[in-house]
Symmetry: C2
Subunit: 332 residues, 2 copies
DNA sequence: GTTGCATTTGGAATCGATTCCAAAATTGGT
DNA sequence: ACCAATTTTGGAATCGATTCCAAATGCAAC
């Protein structure tokens, strides 16, 4: 049995296609009796309006797409919940696709915006170079979350990464940290900003750059362990480590503990994100809470504005407040 | 500047729309010179074929959608990688949407298949009742992963949950477990199968049902802690706990440790999934490895078959092999 | 230069839902 | 019963890409 069309429904209901369409779109200009006939025919034929035909005619899809490198990041999945809820309450469907850091796949997904498969795009962690992101941001309905490219045209939502890193580093210093280390990631803009905040806090406390250790790598548990192993060869040992994510911090704590040292007594460790990992770790991690869900909501609102007022270029990046969460991995 | 259409390209290139379309679709029946003119015009106008028009005419979208309750489950995100890679190599784009366990939202997303927004659907953890899943599975291109509804018409890929639970429970018994407990989840079919396997292994070892503790709840860390607290009020205490997921097991280990008991000496703990949580836990968890990536690949292959040979109803469920991974949370 | 065959091209019809306009039906007032 | 105002309806045009068919062009051989 082939798919029923609006024509079939019209014939079955004994009305015209116009009337069927009016019923579908809840136009008030339909008599009660036609509405009933049409509704009955729709049910009888199990009819659903074909999306591509509707989208073609209406010139919009009521769908948006979010892109991220991975899905298993707690911040991203939480932010996406925010996007999804905000989108739903505006009648949009929100979809996600992981790029896996593959440029070609990312390009293909971005093309879904260019070719009208979706009305808007939310980018969490772009793989493409900043200049390409900026070019896109100028012409298309795109909003960045967490990572915001450094451009006039960039629309985006994030926390103030530099300030957050500054705050937590200051906490490490105030609780006795004298030989600081950081496990970071210069590949991401947010990673570079966090490094800046870290260095600035250390400098203000009178530490010279060569007193600070810095190592970088991927942001997963194993990488956290491996990079910490490198830190533990330093002499003198660091007494406080700021990690760019909770997962890395968990690896860091594990490696320190396995080496027979105590956290925080011998070495204090701080994370970032306040994900569930921070609570699963022993000792529980001092970290920075990102308001991920709200970031998602706000990002959708910004995207909605771009989609519905295309001329309007009230660009802007929004910074939401972060929060220092002190737990047992630093001296309290 | 409005969007360029195939007409605009034809005019600019000085050819007909037919020729433009042939170039776009790499038809061989185009002269070299036309091809160049068209390619130049496309670049000049920055033209992209409109997806909805193409989809309408072709009656397919080359897109598939995967639905899951949450995105942050390690098994799901890994399985989705498999889906994505397999889909990409067949020219499909794969998208994900979380349902958050909300029936209405799930319904709306499933409608994307019914209304032709996507060509196929992969369901990880349905919220709708089994009978609805079965009805869908009969008429539409749907493949289930992990959770497979119990129906003739069901297409799906998973491990043998019952057998896996049986295997790991036997391991608990072989390593000295005498008073077994399980933290499970009867809401999911896979949860019920795991409970069956658990009970069967215990029964075969001569344990009576009332010797076994069973508690159930959500599958997250906090729930794992809370349910374990309940188990620790039992007298005598269990000496081996099988948890339905690594995350729950991590909560279980934490609660046991906080109570001053040792894992595995006082109580052995086993998880499920072999996610990164299993390695992050101290002690590292004995668990069941699910071949999540491969499950995703196989699921796409099955879906591809359903999409391309709609008549063909060689239904079937595929079970991929699981693996017992022994680590320090059980006695070796 | 003509014939025959293969290659290339133009253009109309098509996919299915929406929307606009004019025509038809209904309503109400007198 | 008639007119005007309003509500409701039918049907054609439209969105943009694809595809089919017929026409046109190119090429080779004689």
């Amino acid at each position: 049995m082939a798919r029923a069309t609006v024509q079939d429904v019209a014939k079955t209901a004994g009305v015209s296609v116009g009337t069927v369409s009016r019923v579908l779109n809840k136009s008030p200009a339909v008599s009660e009796s036609s509405k009933e006939k049409v509704t009955a025919a729709i049910r009888q034929l199990n009819y659903r309006p074909l999306a591509s035909a509707r989208d073609l005619r209406r010139d919009r899809t009521m769908r948006i797409l979010a892109l991220a490198k991975n899905l298993n990041s707690p911040v991203i999945s939480e932010a996406f919940r925010g996007v999804g809820d905000a989108a739903a309450s505006s009648g949009y469907v929100s979809l996600i696709a992981p790029t896996a850091g593959d440029l070609e796949r990312e390009q293909q997904l971005v093309d879904m915006l260019r070719n009208g498969s979706v009305d808007g795009l939310i980018m969490f962690s772009p793989t493409m170079p900043d200049e390409d992101v900026n070019e896109m941001a100028e012409q298309l309905s795109v909003v960045q979350v967490c990572e915001i490219a450094d451009s006039e045209a960039a629309f985006g939502v994030s926390i103030d990464d530099r300030q957050a890193a500054f705050d937590i580093t200051r906490h490490l210093i105030e609780t006795g940290g004298r030989r600081l280390a950081m496990i970071g990631n210069r590949a991401a803009r947010s990673g570079r900003l966090r490094e800046e905040g870290f260095r600035q806090a250390a400098a203000e406390a009178g530490m010279s750059p060569d007193q600070m250790l810095f190592v970088e790598g991927e942001f997963d548990f194993h990488s956290g362990r491996q990079l910490t192993r490198k830190l533990l060869t330093a002499d003198p040992l660091p007494d406080a480590v700021f990690c760019g994510s909770d997962t890395v911090a968990a690896g860091c704590v594990r490696e320190i503990t396995d080496a027979g040292l105590r956290v925080p007594d011998d070495i204090a460790v701080a994370g970032f994100d306040d994900s569930i990992q921070a609570e699963m770790c022993v000792p529980e991690l001092t970290t920075i809470r990102q308001p991920a869900y709200d970031m998602g909501r706000v990002a959708f609102e910004a995207l909605f504005a771009r989609m519905t007022e295309p001329g309007e270029h009230r660009r802007g990046r929004t910074f939401l407040p972060h929060e220092l969460v002190v737990r047992d991995s630093t001296k309290g």
